[in-house]
Amino acid sequence: MTMALSPSSPESPAGASRGKALAAAAIRLGALATFAAIMAYFALTARGFATPFNIVNVIEQSAILGILAFGMSVVIIGGGSEVQTGGIDLSLAANAGLCAAVFATATNAGLPAPMAIAATLGTGMLVGAVNGFAVVGLGILPLLATLASMNIVAGIELTLTENTVLSTSSPLLSVLSSGRFLGISALAWVLIAASVIVGLVIHRTPVGLRLYAVGGHPEAARAAGLNVGLHVWGTYVFAGLCAGLAAILIVSRLSASTPGTGELLLSILAAALLGTVFSRRFVPTVGGTVLSVIFIGFLANGFQLLHLSSYWVSGVQGALILLVVAVTSYARPQEH
């Protein structure tokens, strides 16, 4: 492959696999300890951080990012975690923006809620299917294919909304935005339910196992009789479904679709990539993604409570990604 986007020199000789495994365990513990230390720091210095109200609030705020990060994680699981040639969906946030615009437009046009939901999820899955076709059918690198589709989708969203806020309201949206059950809001329940369902499917069913096989060793998976292309395609359609679901949550939270949803992309990538540090083989897991989504949520929340500028947040996320990747690249098990 002339376009093999891989860096520099060959791998160092294998052999210290035992040391590597120990290092990997140390990194997992270190990541959890860092997570706990930052939480403890906020709890001690930021007033109101460790209150149940604030914690539930952060989980609510994390619902949208969490759903989108599940989509990204599944794409990375099925496409392989080699970020340059493996699975990635850069169009995910823009797709959620388009779906939100579709949902707001459909609701405002007087469509009944089930129809509006179907149109929204359908739009998301259609974009996902196109991405899947580009990656599986046409063989375009996911990074490049979804970079192009990100621009197409963002352009379509802008034509639909003319770069304005589309306000909307419906009984369903009020239930989602202010409904409560057992003292926990609907948005938080959606995140909890999604985590459980996606977690069970990915980690407790043959489908999940096959996805890891397809992503980890496509050739071996093909030799074992798996339809690799179909699985990879499925991950992009699933990511599109997540974009549609997240879009409904976005509209319910803001009572509108707003331009600029695409900016969520960086946080989604941060969540999915940071989550890999919590797994033994540094691949995405549902638990790891949930942990890092909540971590990112608490990070932004803690900054806010400490009256630190929110402009720091993306920089801190970037630095964390670099730190995680630099550290894990030393401990990644040899695959050659």
Binding site: T2, S9, I140, S149, M150, G155, G315, V325, A326, S329
Partner: protein, 325 residues
């Protein structure tokens, strides 16, 4: 569509894809020339060349080196922005223009150096390294501008400096075009006529073999990422002189276009490799389509869709043929 056609023209797929891109180019040119009266006027062509082609082409030349080395640079927009931020801030603080210009390019160089350390020394994959730098660059810009306020220098005091950069001309050719010509010559020599370029391409094609054949991979990669950042910095300076301001995060607009132009360029090369001339063709195609869509009355949003579809089609052609190879 083009893909199924290619099955009927099996003799020479490489020349088919070159032909397809050229036919698309000429076809679109004819469509715009007949549909938009203003398209073929000298004023319009000059405007497209100075305002669209030059800025994008210089960024894309740097991306061509990065892609040749087997990497990718998502942070070129940050280099554009940092050069613009430092240049404009320096002028606003009363620093002499040449010094401000040097400081702007220095800021871009630092972005490249950071990328280089992450990629060549710490062995972080280019995608993640430059993604991290993109995050950090956005934070830095927000912090420096109180959340994203542009810095306008529209008073007369600065007009002279900005005009000297963006509106002057030498021998009837606008200065920005001279800058582009120099950049093209330098990068063409470096990539296609010097050992440096051969080594960079070897790293891109076979990193392991390049390493074993004694190429100093880390220092070559360091040079590549610094070169890409400095070229993007030149665009940042030209951009701020053209719009007489620094607008935060405006560099990101170049990212897809520069990558798209580079990959359009690979479709016309026999070995599917990035090349300086191919990239220039890609830039010309994108700039022409943008300008043409504008002139036939598509709004900015549909232009974005149009460009995305075009890049998508070219990627499909490029990768589809490569895989069938």
């Amino acid at each position: 569509m083009s893909l199924s056609l290619s099955r009927h023209l099996p003799k020479d797929r490489e020349s088919f894809s070159t032909l397809a891109v050229l036919v698309a180019f000429v076809g679109l040119f004819l469509v715009f020339a007949t549909q938009a009266d203003a398209f073929l006027t000298l004023g319009n062509l000059r405007n497209v060349l100075v305002n669209n082609v030059v800025l994008l082409a210089i960024v894309a030349l740097g991306v061509t080196f990065v892609v040749s080395s087997g990497g990718i640079d998502l942070s070129v927009g940050v280099s554009v922005d940092m050069a613009s931020l430092v240049f404009v801030s320096a002028l606003a603080a009363g620093v002499a223009a040449p010094l401000g210009l040097a400081a702007g390019l220095g800021a871009a160089l630092l972005v490249g150096l950071l990328n280089a350390i992450l990629i060549a020394r710490l062995k972080i994959s280019p995608f993640l390294a430059t993604l991290g730098v993109l995050f950090i660059g956005q934070s830095v810009q927000r912090l420096a501008t109180g959340g994203g306020q542009p810095i306008y220098l529209v008073t007369k005091d600065y007009a002279e400096i900005f005009n000297a950069i963006s509106r002057s001309s030498l021998l009837g050719v606008p200065t920005p075009v001279w800058v582009l010509i120099l950049c093209v010559l330098a990068t063409w020599l470096a990539l296609h006529r010097m050992g440096f370029g051969r080594q960079v391409q070897a790293i891109g094609a076979r990193p392991g073999v390049a390493w074993y054949s004694g190429i100093r991979v880390p220092s070559r990669l360091t040079q590549v990422y610094i070169l890409a950042a400095v070229l993007a910095g030149i665009t940042g300076i030209l951009l701020s002189a053209t719009v007489r301001s620094y607008v935060p995060m405006s560099g990101n607009a170049f990212l897809l276009d520069a990558i798209g132009a580079t990959f359009i360029g690979t479709t016309i090369s026999r070995e599917r490799r990035p090349s300086i001339l191919g990239t220039l063709l890609g830039v010309a195609l994108l700039a022409m389509v943008k300008n043409g869509l504008l002139l036939i009355g598509w709004n900015f949003y549909w232009q974005q869709v149009g460009i995305g579809v075009l890049v998508f089609a070219v990627l499909a052609l490029s990768f589809g043929l490569q895989r069938r190879h």
